[in-house]
């Protein structure tokens, strides 16, 4: 009980409190609708299985946004990782091919970071240009969908650990722990300072450019892992497989309480935001397949409304997290006034 209240207190202080609450509420709604159909190992496993690439891409995006950037090329990077892993896997041993694909993502992160930090080009321009370039590169590597991976990889990625923990969820946990280690070092606060107030960081005697470069490399590492997870999930190559992830990851990061202007948010919140998207899709899919079927209303086939409803829920989620942000600002100001009045 004590641990629970301690946890609750910690959550309340968290910058991603709203995101956690939203996710929990949604899961409860989902449980009410689907009942046992949702609360079993295989359905939880498939939820994580499908959503791990998005969750990891969102964490990578969040790191980028922390340091004052934004990455429109995460999706294209993931496509390149996928295409390279599949094509190289036909010529060299699979582990080497996958390692190569991963390193490409890290190098791309470093390249983006280098251009943004040292050449001072706005990140939105750099990553937009690079995303077009990478979309082309992915098509060059793998002109049309195809290829396969050893079935052992898929069965490991799709498996469960200790009977109830999805391996894919474990990957997410490992990535979050990895970033937690970064956060325990001064670099964690420095990355956020680079996004919130560069001048302060410079005044503190820290090399701002190098800090940004480090953040982009960390983001590249996580993007690489996301790309490999997507490859394991799809078990084949597709040069356009990841492209949609760029914008989805930004939406998910905002849902997770990450402030687009930099310096505010947590990676845990970002992951929760992405999971929120996943659960929304899950519940809507269930409702439309099992409750609504092919019923019509006023001549409109209701199942056509699936996308619409999904996106309306996402918009509601986005506005509520933005509202929470506004409110937090007011609360902070109010606290300041109270302190002033006491003083």
């Amino acid at each position: 009980m004590q641990i629970l209240t301690h946890l609750a207190n910690k959550m309340k202080k968290s910058q991603a409190f709203g995101a956690y609450i939203m996710l929990v509420l949604l899961v409860i709604i989902n449980l009410l609708i689907q009942g046992k159909g949702f609360a079993n190992v295989s359905s939880i496993n498939s939820l994580f299985l499908v959503n791990t690439p998005l969750i990891l891409a969102t964490v990578a995006q969040a790191v980028m946004i922390f340091c004052g950037g934004i990455d429109l090329s995460i999706g294209a990077t993931i496509s390149v990782v996928n295409a390279f892993a599949i094509v190289a896997g036909q010529h060299v041993p699979v582990p080497i091919a996958w390692l190569g694909a991963f390193l490409i993502a890290v190098l791309l992160g470093a390249a983006k970071g280098g251009i943004v930090a040292y050449l001072r080009v706005p990140p939105i321009l750099v990553t937009f240009a690079i995303s077009t370039l990478l979309e082309g590169l992915a098509l060059l590597i793998l002109p049309k969908p195809g290829g396969s991976i050893p079935s052992s990889i898929y069965s490991v990625y799709g498996g469960v650990f200790a009977g109830f923990i999805p391996i894919s969820a474990l990957v997410i946990v490992l990535v979050l722990i990895g970033f937690g280690i970064v956060n325990r070092r001064p670099l964690g606060a420095q990355i956020k300072a680079a996004g919130a107030n560069q001048r302060s960081l410079f005044i503190a005697g820290v090399n701002v450019e190098r800090t940004k470069l480090k953040a982009y490399i960390i983001s590249g590492v996580i993007t690489g892992i996301a790309g490999l997870c997507l490859t394991a999930l799809a078990s084949s190559g597709d040069p356009k497989i990841g492209n949609a992830l760029s914008l989805n990851s930004i939406a998910a990061a905002i849902l997770g309480g990450v402030d687009l202007s930099g310096g505010w948010g947590t990676v845990g919140g970002a992951a929760a935001g992405a999971l929120f998207l996943g659960v929304v899709n899950n519940v809507i899919f269930y409702v439309f397949n099992n409750v609504i079927h092919s019923s019509t209303l006023m001549g409109i086939k209701l199942s056509y409304l699936q996308q619409l409803l999904t996106n309306i829920i996402i918009i509601l989620g986005l506005s509520s997290s933005l509202l929470a942000h506004l409110k937090k600002g007011q609360k902070r100001r109010k606290q300041a006034n109270e302190i002033k009045n006491v003083g």
Partner: protein, 501 residues
């Protein structure tokens, strides 16, 4: 000993520093004085490694050093506390203090316990009412100023430069800070104290260096120079604050131009009633944060009023907004030029014409020639020192920027002008020029509500002074002379209230 010799620095056409000299000795607190634009902040930034110098040499104990970045300066033991803070709002107090830590680190990882212990000790020492894990954005200005100094001290510097850190502090906080600084001085720290407040300089410092127009005028012991000498060295002329009060006290006026009844704004303004008569300059006096800023903004319409009513020219105002206020001839000038006044990147011409243009119907044109000649005329009249009207406003000094904002509002045929500390950070000369402009306007029948953080300014220009304390008007002075200054100072501190009890 840290010495800077023949330092020159040029920003575009303006010479910020011209062969300036400055030195700092261990165990000494030196004041650096100068009017605005005299290069005080620039030399501080040069020594802090924030801006490069064009010429000159910096030495520590006779050995020349290069300061390419703030990192170099910190490595040499030079730390700065900035007037505009170097704190990250989104981080906590402890994260800010130990953003680039040399202590509280174990094998590259943060030692959270040690860090929070150290932070607690610092917060206690500076009497800041915050926890280590409080976000800096929720601190108020005075605590931020103290934290800024604390942050500089965390680096354990040998040379500490304080750039106007007391501007936002309450008196008791100033005393706490001075105690800490004296203690550090005893331990051999060398401190450079940049300030506008003469009293504090006399209280804390032993020696003084005075800058004028980027040059070092004199370096001497403080007890060898008087207040008047300092003003002379700063401005190059004897202090000339003439006072000519036309006696027009509120009571014998007829119809008030603006009458405010029981106005309240959030928790900052409690219950304020005021009458403003044509041709009157009404001074508001008070410590920082007593609700006067919110009051002025509420009257202007940029802040929501919670209670009360405002009657303007005999009509009660319903909905308030800056646009409506300007259209009806009520303007607001803030001392916070950067965020509430000037468009720094736009040209001087545009800055003057922005309000006039904005108030017109969207398709109604502006005659360029007429606007230009009017702008030129105003620049002449207000004695704004500019290069070309097409230069960006950022090329002007603070005082001239402020005059530019006056010019903007003068184009609008005003009847009421609300001023929130318009001479904040403006040098003595520009200050008296602004006061002249105000008096001239008042003679033509315009009414002013004028808040200033410096009560001496109010006694020089106002016809009537009210004192704000904790969101209320606690005292009103109708007879303005030098003698009431001590009464004013007492009223500002809420003395009348304790007497009543």
């Amino acid at each position: 000993m840290l010495a800077a010799k023949n330092i020159s620095k040029q920003y575009g056409q303006t010479k910020a520093l011209d062969q300036a000299e400055l030195s700092m000795k261990p165990g000494e607190i030196r004041a650096l004085l100068g009017s605005n634009g005299s290069g005080k902040s620039t030399i501080a930034k040069v020594l802090g490694g924030l801006v490069g110098k064009n010429q000159g040499e910096i030495t520590i104990d006779g050995e020349p050093i290069q300061l390419g970045s703030a990192k170099d300066a910190l490595a040499r033991g030079i730390a700065l506390a900035y007037q505009d803070y170097s704190l990250v709002d989104q981080l906590t107090v402890e994260e800010n203090l130990f953003l680039n830590p040399k202590e509280a680190i174990k094998k590259g990882f943060i030692d959270h316990k040690e860090r929070s212990d150290k932070t607690l000790r610092i917060l206690e020492q500076f009497h800041i009412s915050a926890k280590p894990e409080t976000y800096v954005s929720s601190l108020d200005e005075s605590d931020k100023s103290l934290l800024e100094v604390a942050k500089a001290l965390v680096y354990k510097p040998k040379y500490l430069i304080l750039d106007e850190v007391t501007a936002c502090l309450h008196r008791d906080q100033v005393l706490i800070l001075f105690d800490i600084l004296r203690k550090e001085k005893e331990e051999g720290l060398s401190i450079l104290f940049i300030s506008h407040r003469f009293d504090e300089v006399y209280e804390l410092c032993e020696t003084v260096t005075i800058f004028r127009n980027g040059k070092t005028v004199i370096t001497t012991d403080l007890n060898k120079v008087t207040h008047d000498d300092i003003v002379y060295y700063m401005t190059g002329q004897k202090e000339a604050m003439k006072k000519q009060h036309q006696k027009k006290c509120a009571s014998d006026q007829k119809e008030p131009l603006l009458s405010i009844r029981n106005l309240g704004v959030g928790c900052q303004v409690d219950d304020v009633s005021l009458k403003l008569y044509p041709g009157e300059i009404l001074g508001i006096c008070g410590l920082q944060g007593q609700g006067q800023s919110e009051f002025l903004r509420a009257v202007y319409g940029s802040k929501k009023i919670s209670r009360g009513s405002i009657t303007y020219r005999g009509k009660q105002l319903g909905k308030l907004s800056p646009e409506r206020s300007l259209k009806s001839g009520m303007a607001f000038i803030s001392g916070d030029r950067g965020s509430e006044g000037i468009f720094a990147d736009r040209s001087i011409f545009e800055n003057i014409n922005i309000s006039r243009g904005a108030l017109r119907f969207i398709f109604r044109g502006i005659r360029l020639k007429e606007s230009k000649s009017k702008a030129d005329e105003l620049i002449q009249r207000l004695n704004v020192v500019i290069g070309e009207t097409s230069d960006p406003a950022s090329s002007l000094s603070g005082g001239n920027q402020q005059k530019l904002i006056f010019a903007r509002d003068l184009l609008l045929d005003l009847s009421v002008l609300l001023l929130d500390d318009p001479t904040k950070g403006v040098d003595v000369k520009a200050r008296s020029e602004i006061q002249e402009i105000l008096k001239e306007l008042a003679d033509k029948g315009m009414a002013c509500i004028y808040y200033s953080s410096d009560y001496k300014e109010l006694t020089a220009v106002a016809d009537r002074i009210v004192v704000f304390y904790e969101g209320n008007i606690t005292k009103e002075f109708c007879d303005i002379s030098d003698e009431i200054e001590s009464d004013l100072a007492a009223a500002m501190l809420g003395a009348t209230r304790t007497e009543a009890k």
